[in-house]
Symmetry: D2
């Protein structure tokens, strides 16, 4: 099978792309995400047609946030769109006359990085995506690990602090409350409130108040050497690395890939993550260590990965 | 391949068994574990010969505590025997003229339960063993998940409490410090110290002092309704169930199997584990739930599992 | 000095009372709390006049939420009213021609319980108030301990879980997030979500949904034996008792008094608090134990205490 | 009253000193601590006679580790000497014909710092002593706060991590497990194990192994800029400062004094403690901040404080 189509459903926009076997995107189409659940269905179908018509594309892979069943057909639960047991595969297939597979979006992005990005040359890879929240995917023996019910790899909800921070999922102490873009902003605001005199650059990046600090301000201030911004990245890295050490105890991959917006900062955040990983890796003197790599595909990983998973039938 | 031999290396005794394809043990041999590392090698070889000679057994599976490399040949590190990069496969093969595979003992036990015990009918199973410590194994798609370097499934060292209890591994807050036979005894002693009047039955089971309480006393007292003993089991179950919920987020198996001495108490401990599991399972309303099953093979799981893994080449 | 006036400023109403030396309220006046900060000043003055005019009352004590300075004159910070460095004493004295002292409301309530409630006969008492949040007050050697800057006894913000729940104060893991009326409701909702079949009575008390559960429903369901409601009270008691054990290590009082709406349930909540207190009290075998008593004055404690503190000049 | 005698009972030596009203030690005597409880009594009496005979000294203050009753007469429990309900005051008075008061040793040291050291000019002071463990004392309104039963100020056993590290007291998560000389050594050893290449100076100070690292090595390496040693001090400071923030919420003193061997490093450890204190101080924008001062009397504080407390009758 040659060309396939990948779809990435985001909170603000839906992107479809025509992708070849090497993971190259040949054509793309973006539309704003409609407010109604049914509107989203139509928008997905339209975007697929826009890039697929007149091409030899035979299959579509759709990456969707939430729980996707093990048949890769139904969205059991989506956090952002009011889908519950939504038969997404059937509905799209009726509209586009192509075979469709639905994948969890973080799994699709992990697969993209494994096939065409930082995971090349590895067969056992764990990908974590530090975006607004924390997602991830697992490749074992060159295959995506979906789990028995399709909902494996929900790393963000690993409980890392008993009785810890409330999470949108209803639980407490979830990893994504401590290692994610949202956590980074919280660290920066808390520290800028407590020690404003040490956060001058950081505060100047925003509107001068702790509440006005956003993620991009922390990045920019850290690059300028602002101690509070740097310390905020370190705190995030402390939790990210400790969690990777846990995943090493469980999965034992040859490499971890760290993606998402936070990882755009490169070694500014990767190095402290590696340090914390080594610090907490159990038995570190007696075992080979997994590498901790930066993702390479950026925001394309999900679309490219979904397209490739469609190819695999 | 018909008959194979399984070996289980314990701290006090080494057991070898002749096992058929149905997991039935046809013959066994037990010897005391010698004090010297080389003595252990000889004892293993002797035990294998004792059950294997004159039979059609062609292969041997050895379950050993510690890290075993991905070639299933070398013990990288053993916690109880002074083995570091010990070429166990080669040394035994030289002595017994049978092909040998070495497996982590918890992996072997998990495999045994999967093939011949509580895991029958499942393809995606996570086994945890609540013994003195906490071990485990992972079966994905009907295959044992060893990890890239052979050291996957070290559940006991998942960090469940940041800055928590010291662990023998050098880290802190490891799951096995909160969910294991040793933890159970600690819970019981702490509670019996704080509220001795509520622990009369429990104290009477031992020598009358909190320090004299052992695991079997907690079990016996719990069966008699001692509130402190029951509360100690509940505390263990609280941590065990919360950890299983974490593993469900990561692995998404169809079943968990709980083995080890603690699980001998059956529903006394399994029911509170199930309750805690449901309490902490993320997204529990929107996903199928894995079953939580009691192990069935007891202490035989490791030997039977090791024998069967040898069969698989 | 005979009669004095006590004032209790609440979020919804302001109450003033004429109180005699025995702590008896002879007359009261309640008005709704106005929305504007200046309106609150006028309302306080009006309420004081309503109960004080034509009487021999010579002094006024006002209990206010927030930080009150060590001169008992200025509210440094109020959480609910937009007061920052508000010269409350001066403003009220200008309006009512009586001498005024301002006290932290939890301190006033603690003093009320010490003088006329459960603290009678003790000289060293720590009071905690489990209301919506958690407040408290300290009596040492028969005197209210205000601290050097007037802000002692902020028990609710003791950090009991590092990296724990966010608190309105900007910190994390504050005791009041784990032991308060708000915490009780959170416990009940979480548990009713996870195990609705065990929470039938509790859910029926509210509107049938976990989100509809309020504090009074938990109380009512617990009295009917609902296991989830009882477990929610136990969880609250676990944290309350552990915190009292900490306070015993620091202050070593002869008695703790537990007040606030949660304590209205009496031994349903006091007994598990006592049990948890003993469980966590350090050195419990080698030291006298403080008593843990239920408050007696209910919602009157703050008003009566403020009036009495005015008497003391 | 002019001259008094102070006694400091340590694990390895007993020191007595003749002290004047200005806190100056005029004469001292040291003897090794005998192994038997009765031997300790005799040694104390001998040391008192050695410095007191032929002088005008009229009273003796003895600082003893453990719980001392509110009559300042009986040691209820000593952690290091096998004393249980030991009538120390009576036994010494029978031997030396001087009036004796017994004080908790940390209280005595706190009093010494308050009267003659860093606390001069303050009336509300909290002292913490970061030695092998963590002790402390409280001065409120110029008086030592002993508590109703004599056992107030046991700061070291404040629970700062639920389910945290085991403590010698039988509880878990006690502050002294995270902020003390012993904790500092643990931090350094853990970090030197995980990242030996970053701890070259630190390892060279000891015997080259993580296990050989002692407190003095961490201090020396930190002064030479070793990153692991500096990070170990920071970790200690993080916990020390957060605990002081808790104590500020409770006691609201005008100053904290930090003593003990760890504080000998001065601003190397005091500055990060101050930073962490501000970071965690609740309501820090709306309240005056207590100062965080280094102790000045070093190891003399206990003896001088005990002598002065004897003076106060």
């Amino acid at each position: 099978m040659g060309l396939t189509i990948g779809v990435d459903i985001g909170g603000t926009k839906i992107a479809a792309g025509l992708v070849d076997e090497a993971g190259t995107i040949l054509d793309t189409c973006q539309v704003a995400t409609p407010p109604s659940p049914e509107g989203v269905i139509e928008a997905i179908a339209d975007a697929i047609k826009a890039v697929g018509e007149g091409t030899s594309a035979e299959a579509v892979g759709i990456g969707a946030a939430g729980y996707v069943d093990d048949k890769r057909a139904t969205v059991l639960f989506a956090p952002n769109i009011a889908w519950r047991h939504e038969a997404l595969k059937d509905k799209i297939e009726q509209r586009v006359s192509l075979s469709v597979v639905v994948e969890n979006d973080a799994n699709a992005a992990a697969w993209g990085e494994y096939r065409f990005g930082a995971g090349t040359g590895h067969d056992d890879v764990v990908v974590i995506t530090l975006g607004t929240g924390l997602g991830g995917g697992i490749i074992i023996g060159g295959r995506l690990h979906r789990g028995r019910f399709g909902v494996a790899g929900e790393f963000g909800h690993l409980r890392v602090v008993p009785d810890g921070l409330l999470c949108g999922c209803g639980s407490q102490g979830c990893w994504e409350q401590y290692a994610s873009g949202r956590a980074l902003v919280r660290y920066a605001r808390q520290r800028a409130t407590a020690t404003p005199e040490a956060a001058k650059v950081l505060l100047a990046e925003g509107d001068g108040t702790p509440e006005g600090i956003e993620g991009r301000h922390v990045s920019s201030a850290a690059r300028q050497g602002d101690p509070v911004a740097i310390d905020s990245f370190r705190e995030l890295a402390r939790w990210a690395g400790a969690g990777l050490a846990d995943l090493a105890s469980l999965f034992d991959p040859s490499a971890f890939i760290v993606g998402g917006g936070v990882s755009d900062e490169g070694d500014l955040v990767l190095d402290p993550i590696r340090k914390s990983f080594r610090r907490w890796l159990v038995g570190s003197r007696y075992r080979p260590h997994a590498q901790v790599l930066a993702a390479r595909l950026g925001g394309r990983a999900g679309l490219v990965g979904a397209a490739d998973l469609a190819r695999q039938g």
